[in-house]
Symmetry: none
Subunit: 195 residues, 4 copies
DNA sequence: GATGAATGAGCTTTCATTCAT
DNA sequence: AATGAATGAAAGCTCATTCAT
């Protein structure tokens, strides 16, 4: 019984993570079995468990990448940026990252919806909720300063980011994307809340 | 062995369906066990199987209700309605139905995203895809007639319905809703595609 | 696929417990597999788990029976009994119970030795330790009253009960027992500590 | 890749053996994993397998030490010694060795009880059984010669050695030992079988 | 209608062992 | 001598489903 070792440890780890993401998206997290990941990655069962503590740990590793990328892309803007700059930048960042990482995004959304506040991925849920709350605070400050329309944040967030999320879902499902679409979505996001 | 009969058959059936929906939303379809539904509904295992052929049949019953309501609400409009009337009516219908049935909506969205074209709920997927295609045809006809801006339908659909879907997700997660929000979303949906 | 139901629920439960005890004694608790118990009991895997939460729960059920019998047999005596009556009664009780339930006794001893204070069966360990401590208190009171020799309790307990435990181990291993042996062991237990 | 060599091969071997014994006593042989031994010893998996063929070989090495010490201590006496000298010597030897090597003793007892005649350590079991049989023969010869009471050997052995084994178990569990205890146990062992 | 004991395939996970480095 | 990634058989356990009562 010869051991074939065609990949280094790090590559093997990446291959497992990639395969896990593919399976999670195809079948959903709960419906994915370790055997699925084994087949998709080419690794053996033991090898998967050598690198990851279990199915949950695989999801967490993927979520770590996803949440980091998503937060950086959608949340980052200078503290002294105008409302227009900040909003446009955030939607553009979200779309760019989402189009570049459609699978991570979709996985993050699956986990987000499935995660009660006390479940397995409560940590992720808490991070995302904190991001939402921070965005709400910022928006309300802009509203008081007259930089944006006065709207309840859930409505405002829906108007601004809803199209982008919907668009990214469609792209991830295989619909064709055009570069100009991004500009359209960014402009629409600002148009809908500008005073 | 005394048989306690506190509820009629039909009520028991409804209670099971209700409990199943709650569980599916909390844990996801795949992660929900019959035991979960048993506990949540108060019915016994045998009782559940008396009314439904299995876990899949429970989901199908819920989806039947959901798809019917959603289709009726978001698709219905007179064949000779103007683009503006049709679009506003469809978004308003979607929001009304979605606010009245937030849990069915969320469940339908879960199944939609999780369902590859060859899976267990392929039928549902096919129906929803057909609805999307029909809407795309209608939109393109309007665009040719100059009633709406010329936009690729995925983008247009995102701009029109994305906010509504996002808003419904937030409401289902517990954020507070205001009646005026509906008008705001309806107007925004038309504003973004009017010529 | 016909379901054969030759035994009532309670009988099936007992059969599983019996089979588990046999396996635990033959192979040791840790080395016994559910498959072993399945084969020995004739029950299916699912049936075992229908009645018991797991391998640990099987052990606990057996230990419950064992500890109860052993405590009752070796600890019971009137509060106003003399030292001689109490000691002889306790050794006789231990031997009678142990000869009638040699397998429960051996299993209890296995778990006792394997159980650190923080492990899976810590509860059992605590109960047995409490019994030992109570016996020590009683013995010291007798010693102060001049009813028994003044000896450190570990030594006294070894002198009194050591032969009985050793004897029970040999009997459980298949050596032949004689009724008179009990009297011999009881007399010896008293002789070795009487003033 | 630097190789740290803080211990010589022999020392490393001893450390592994020590760690294995600790683990075997804490968790039992079957429940101890190589990973446990790896952590407890500080050696790597590969290192353990460099010195020992496997888990069974570790147990055999420990048993070899134990059986040798125990046999020498409890069995040795001149062929022409009197019954009193032989019995007292054997109990004293057992206690001395057992107090000096409490962990080896306990491990030997575990393996002894756990070992069916056809299992992994059948060899050990056979050696110990042979020792028991030889002692029985010797005792019966003394009985015929009137040097000891006429008792079935299982009873006699229990009366003589039971207290010592019980005492050693208590000492191994942490109870305090006194030098005089040995004399007490030795005298009691003889008193109970002397004619 | 209603019950819950029984089933067994299939799941996640563990772990003794091997071997290229 | 030493390392630790890799293996895969086998373990404990779950759960959709059936069916005698």
């Amino acid at each position: 019984m010869t051991v074939t070792r065609t990949t280094s440890g790090a590559r093997r780890r990446e291959a497992i993570l990639e395969a896990a993401l593919t399976c999670f998206l195809e079948r959903g997290f709960a419906a994915t079995t370790i055997a699925d990941i084994r087949q998709a990655s080419g690794a053996t069962t033991g090898s998967i468990y050598h690198f990851f503590a279990g199915k949950g740990a695989l999801a967490e590793a993927l979520l770590g990448q996803a949440v980091a990328g998503w937060s950086a892309a959608s949340g980052a803007s200078d503290a002294d940026a105008s409302a227009e700059e900040a909003i446009k930048g955030s939607i553009r960042g979200l779309l760019r990252w989402g189009l570049a990482n459609p699978r991570h995004l979709r996985f993050m959304e699956e986990i987000r919806t499935r995660t009660g506040l006390g479940g397995e991925f409560a940590e992720v849920r808490r991070m995302l909720d904190a991001g939402f709350a921070a965005a709400a605070d910022r928006f309300e400050a802009w509203a008081r300063a007259g930089e944006v329309r006065t709207l309840p944040f859930p409505l405002a967030q829906s108007l601004m980011a809803g199209p982008a999320y919907n668009y990214l879902r469609l792209m991830a499902a295989g619909h064709p994307s055009r570069p100009e679409d991004i500009d359209e979505l960014v402009e629409a996001a600002w148009a809908v809340v500008k005073p």
